[in-house]
């Protein structure tokens, strides 16, 4: 039982870490995009769908808040 609990705890911790890193990745990408757009207007949005990236980032954030909030 204890082993099962530990495994579940580890899985949740791993899941949180992955979601966190994905959040950092999307945030960095959006920040890089913002900087690129400021310096070279139109270049980032030519290759990246910013609406999709922003939606992913938001969903990721909501999910991250949900799993962080659960004690």
């Amino acid at each position: 039982m204890a082993a099962l609990m530990k495994e579940k705890f580890n899985f949740k911790k791993k899941q949180k870490l992955i979601v966190e890193e994905f959040f950092y990745f999307l945030s960095s990408l959006l920040l890089a995009g913002l900087l690129v757009e400021l310096i070279f207007p139109g270049l980032f949005i030519l290759y990246f769908n910013v609406s999709l990236l922003a939606a992913l980032w938001l969903l990721n954030l909501i999910y991250l808040l949900c799993i962080t909030g659960k004690k």
Partner: protein, 500 residues
């Protein structure tokens, strides 16, 4: 767990760095070229070789009411002009544009041209021919001889080679013409052309001309400068409707060569965008060392500036192609074209004007009215009030004695092919015929002086006469637009920098 975090962080950091490098590579374009390709007929909207692209590099066609596009179908041009913005990561010195299209044009709208914005202040586009209905189908009973892209059309066969014609033309001028202005040109560089007529006899008339009407915004003039040089005086009024400072410039050109510039700074005290109209400010520009002869005078200014009381030291002053009158009282002008385009910009100037005896009732603001008169020669335009923009393919002047037109007639939709014109010389490349009667044309531009804003060039597709409301000019189907920007590569630039 620590290793997992390190691995993940390493991977996404590499990804972000790769993205930044990729974008920087696109910006630099080390090969010296970059391609924007837009296919309307399928879902392929990516720039060539860049499958990761998410947004089209060719913007949406505007105004949207002039185009129609069905699901996966070609873009239909029903009105003109139509504008696109074209993205390029940096400025390039040359542009090659390939367009695949199906023209359904007729003699109402015979000319299809495209080009890029070259001068934002004067809203001037550099246009190149794509398809000319007259040259492709409309002159079937004329004799035609070709020499490369040069084509000579003759109503009656007089010359047997283009070279023979060019030699006669350059040696004798237009003396071979049985009637004055018998030669029309299309897309011929007019830098080295013999004059359409000898205008030297006009130099002897040293009479001052006072242009009695007010003109708003940028204008271009042909002037005959007399022996004692160039002198122009007038008044400048600032309407202060726009927020930018309203500096102005007079530029004098001999052919395409700039020979004089006069700068008029905006030192007026009124606040911009305050609608506080300034007092008329006297200006005087002069250049006494100018050789007597024909010059083009360009007045570069925003729409906030009105010039009035123009006093010129010669009798001959013609306004080229477009005039924006600012008078509230009656206006009377003369033009040498049998066509007139009129646009009222304020409800107080709705009126009925007279163009060579033909009446035109103007009842709607911002609507573009067109009038074609069957008479030839100089036609009078009488308006009960000014406040209109008038445009055509000829000149406007205050009376017939001050009008001069040194331009050759141009092969456009208003050229009277029936009587005056006996020869047409065109620099024109026929489109390449493809499957399903699609045509492909390729046009080259030198892009170094093109206007570029926020990494976008402004592309125009123009088919004068194509009217979305009347529907008389036909329509145009567009399958694909491919814009190749090119110039020196990074390697060439490094070699030049190192003097290799």
């Amino acid at each position: 767990m620590f290793f997992l975090v390190s691995k993940l962080r390493f991977i996404w950091l590499i990804l972000v760095i790769f993205v930044i490098f990729f974008l920087f590579y696109q910006f630099v374009s080390p090969s010296g070229s970059w391609v924007c390709r837009h296919v309307f007929i399928s879902s392929d909207r990516f720039p060539l070789g860049q499958a990761a692209a998410s947004g089209p590099c060719l913007g949406l066609a505007s105004p949207s009411e002039r185009v129609v596009q069905g699901q996966g179908g070609p873009l239909l041009l029903l009105g003109e002009p139509v504008y696109f913005s074209v993205f390029s990561p940096r400025a390039f010195s040359n542009i090659n544009l390939e367009i695949t299209y199906r023209p359904h044009l007729n003699d109402v709208a015979p000319v299809f041209e495209l080009g890029f914005l070259a001068d934002k202040d004067l809203w001037r586009y550099h246009l190149q021919p794509v398809y000319n209905f007259w040259l492709e189908q409309g002159l079937s009973n004329w004799k035609v001889i070709n020499s490369g892209n040069l084509r000579l059309f003759q109503k009656q066969e007089k010359f047997f080679s283009v070279d023979d014609f060019l030699e006669t033309w350059h040696n004798q001028g237009s003396d071979f013409c049985p009637t004055p202005r018998c030669l029309a040109l299309y897309n011929i560089n007019d830098e080295d052309l013999p004059p359409v007529q000898n205008l030297d006899f006009l130099l002897n008339k040293e009479v001052e001309l006072i242009f009695p009407y007010k003109l708003r915004g940028a204008h271009q003039f042909y002037i005959m400068v007399p022996e004692n040089g160039f002198k122009l005086e007038g008044f400048l009024t600032d309407l202060n409707e726009n927020k930018e400072k309203d500096t102005a410039e007079f530029n004098i050109f001999s052919g395409k060569r700039l020979v004089g510039t006069f700068f008029l700074p905006d030192d007026r005290s009124q606040a911009e965008e305050g609608f506080d109209v300034s007092e008329p400010q006297l200006f005087s520009v002069a250049k006494s060392d100018l050789e007597p002869g024909l010059y083009r005078l360009e007045f570069r200014a925003s729409d906030d500036l009105v010039i009035s009381g123009l006093n010129f030291n010669s009798q001959h002053l013609s306004i080229i192609n477009k005039i924006w009158l600012f008078d509230k009282g009656p206006v009377s002008l003369v033009t040498d074209s049998s066509y007139l385009q009129v646009k009222p910009l304020s409800p107080e100037f709705l009126q009925t004007l007279d163009f060579g005896g033909q009446k035109l009732s103007i009842q709607e603001i911002y609507h573009q009215y067109e009038l074609v008169n069957q008479k030839r020669g100089y036609l009078k335009i009488d308006m009960p009030a000014g406040g209109l923009t008038l445009a055509n393919n000829g000149m406007f002047a205050v009376d017939a004695s001050s009008l001069l037109n040194p331009d050759y007639p141009r092969l456009d939709r208003f050229l009277p092919l029936d009587d005056q014109i006996d020869f047409i010389l065109a620099d024109y490349q026929s489109p390449v015929y493809q499957e399903d009667s699609w045509l492909r044309s390729s046009v080259d531009f030198s892009a170094s002086d093109f206007y570029r804003e926020k990494n976008h060039y402004s592309l125009i597709l123009s088919v004068p006469g194509l009217d979305v409301e009347g529907g008389q000019g036909g329509f145009l189907e567009i399958k694909e637009i491919k814009v190749k920007f090119y110039g020196r590569s990074l390697g060439d630039k490094i070699k030049e920098w190192l003097h290799l």
